[in-house]
Amino acid sequence: MSIQLKDVRYSYPDMPEKLVLNINNWSVAAGEQVFVHGPSGGGKSTLLNLLSGMLQASTGEVSVIGKRLDKASSQQRDRFRAGHIGYIFQQFNLIPYLDAIDNIQLAHQFAKTRTSSSLKDDIKSLLTTFHIAPGDWQKPVAKLSIGQQQRIAIVRAMINKPELLIADEPTSSLDQHNRDIFMTELTAMVSEHNTTLLFVSHDMSLAKYFNRIDALADINTAGTEN
């Protein structure tokens, strides 16, 4: 299993009485591409933060690619996230004043999975695959279009060849044309690397790209009980 959640409860420390997540049992198999949809305030970001190790469950088991994140220290979770999980957001995926190559290298710095020489080649090859022209590689990413930035974000997220890729509404700032390009390239990339994809969005039109669709309300029962 790529993701295995069991009896997971989570509430924020400043509001311990309010349960944000209550997941009895939810799992995702390795290599699966899952579309999770749900309304805002449904605990979506909290779930993703638990899976990436940014947050730690109050109770229950959180197992990601065989690693028990609920039992790992903060440092262990940071290292695990750097090496095994890729993350793409709706926006602010990149450091705006760095160029594409620096942004991608930065993500690699914390994982340190291979030598710098092969890394450069990989970056250039991936940027070419994602149709980023060589002339744009060394421009600050803030000067590139949103579509280009999101494609660079995929490269940044995939550079360490993560087993799990989390995408949090990554297409909401893209127009139809760029959204289609983005989805095609993303799904092709994860299929090629057999990466588990957890894609969260409220845009149901994207469901067609996935073979498994889960409603967040079915996963998280917090707020629906009583």
């Binding site: 970001s45 933060n49 440092q75 750097a82 602010f92």
Partner: protein, 413 residues
């Protein structure tokens, strides 16, 4: 990559960063500049005279005697009888004596009447003797030896003729223009008041004043220059004299004897002791300057801290992104510290370059007007300590914004 991220992050905020660097540069410039001038002035003071065991003058305070006899600043309270000088200088405990006679000038530079023993025995710095850059000591009545700065500033060379003026000051209307002097020697630079002194023989001093009375030339005087050689030109009085003793063990005994000299009220001082007294007086000013420059640095560091703190608030997304890609909170702490250190380092480079440039441009002015020869060795003495202190203070000043970055990273979700 860490260093690259820090530099590019600073470059991204270049407006506020440049202003902070300027403020830091000015404060470090002031701090190091004040310290450098202080240490150079002290060194210059301390190296003005060495190897002289006692300086003797008419009864006065030790500082006044030191200032007029060595630094050519101020005026003596009285003169000393030539017989007194003869009596003391022939004391068996005395190895050598250098008479000093002051009172005239040349274009603002003081004229000092002395004997050729001055060139043999007077030393400065670490017992360095006077050397001639050109020519030799005075031999004739109207020979003159110029200090290095006098020759350089006024453009004199050997065999040039110069006219001395009666009294002090840049402009004098009482000139000894009937008895010009010939330049026979130019001393090598010493970085001491010697460089600003015009040296002639005691007999030369007598010769130009032989037909003068109370600061005015006696009208109708008929003594021709050629006649002077035949006259006995022994001075009646001198301003002060320096003594070198055979044994340093006898310094206090000789000093006591001179201070109790019955025929004439005299003061004998130890130059080293008088110099340290002088420096103690300047110490208050010195500490005040240090305090002010320290406060300026603190103000600049607070500015740096405020700028970094404001930047943390603007960088929430960046901090979150770094956390998501695996950066531990300590990385964010160190990143902000590194940015502050880069600002500090750049400020140091600018401040030190400014100081070098300042010394380069003002070196001649300081030497000619203040008599201060400034060294370019900026990393000597306390300056190295102050540089390390500035770096340490930067780390402390950046601790608060670094902690905020760390805390934001910890809470980032």
């Amino acid at each position: 990559m860490f260093f690259r991220l820090a530099t590019k992050s600073l470059f991204n905020r270049k407006g506020s960063v440049v202003l902070t660097i300027l403020a830091m540069s000015v404060s470090i410039f002031v701090l190091l500049g004040v310290e450098h001038i202080r240490s150079q002035t002290k060194e210059s003071f301390n190296s003005t005279v060495s190897g002289v065991d006692l300086i003797v003058g008419a009864r006065t305070g030790s500082l006044n005697l030191l200032l007029y006899s060595v630094f050519r600043i101020g005026s003596p309270t009285n003169n000393i009888d030539w017989e007194t000088y003869q009596t003391i200088s022939t004391n068996p405990k005395v190895a050598w004596a250098i008479p000093i006679s002051l009172g005239d000038s040349h274009k603002g530079y003081r004229v000092m009447g002395t004997s050729t023993d001055y060139f043999k025995h007077f030393s400065y710095g670490n017992k360095r003797q006077l050397n001639f850059a050109a020519g030799q000591a005075f031999n004739d009545l109207f020979d003159v030896v110029l200090g290095a700065e006098v020759a350089k500033t006024l453009g004199y060379s050997l065999d040039d003729k110069i006219t001395l003026a009666h009294g002090l000051g840049n402009t004098s209307f009482s000139l000894h223009d009937d008895r010009p002097f010939k330049v026979t020697g130019i001393l090598a630079s010493t970085g001491t008041p010697v460089d600003q002194t015009v040296h002639i023989s005691l007999q030369g001093i007598e010769a130009i004043h032989i037909d003068w009375k109370q600061g005015v030339k006696i009208p109708g005087s008929t003594i021709q220059t050629e006649q002077l050689a035949a006259l006995t030109l022994t001075p009646k009085t001198i301003t002060a004299f320096m003594l070198g003793l055979n044994s340093r063990m006898t310094i206090f005994q000789v000093q006591r004897d001179i201070n109790n000299y019955r025929q004439e009220p005299l003061s004998a001082i130890l130059p080293g002791v008088a110099l340290s007294e002088l420096w103690q007086m300047i110490g208050i000013l010195e500490n005040t300057l240090r305090l002010i420059s320290g406060l300026i640095l603190i103000a600049a560091l607070l500015g740096l801290s405020a700028m970094m703190l404001a930047s943390i608030r603007e960088r929430e997304h960046e901090i979150h992104l770094l956390r998501v890609i695996g950066a531990p909170p300590s990385y964010l702490f160190l990143l902000v510290e590194m940015e502050a250190l880069l600002i500090s380092f750049l400020s140091l480079v600018i401040a030190l370059s400014g100081l070098y440039l300042g010394l380069l441009l003002s070196g001649d002015f300081l030497t000619s007007k203040v008599g201060l020869q400034m060294s370019f060795a900026l990393f000597s003495g306390n300056n190295l300590l102050f540089i390390l202190l500035a770096i340490g203070a930067t780390i402390v000043a950046a601790a608060l914004p670094s902690f905020f970055a760390y805390r934001n990273a910890k809470l980032s979700r």
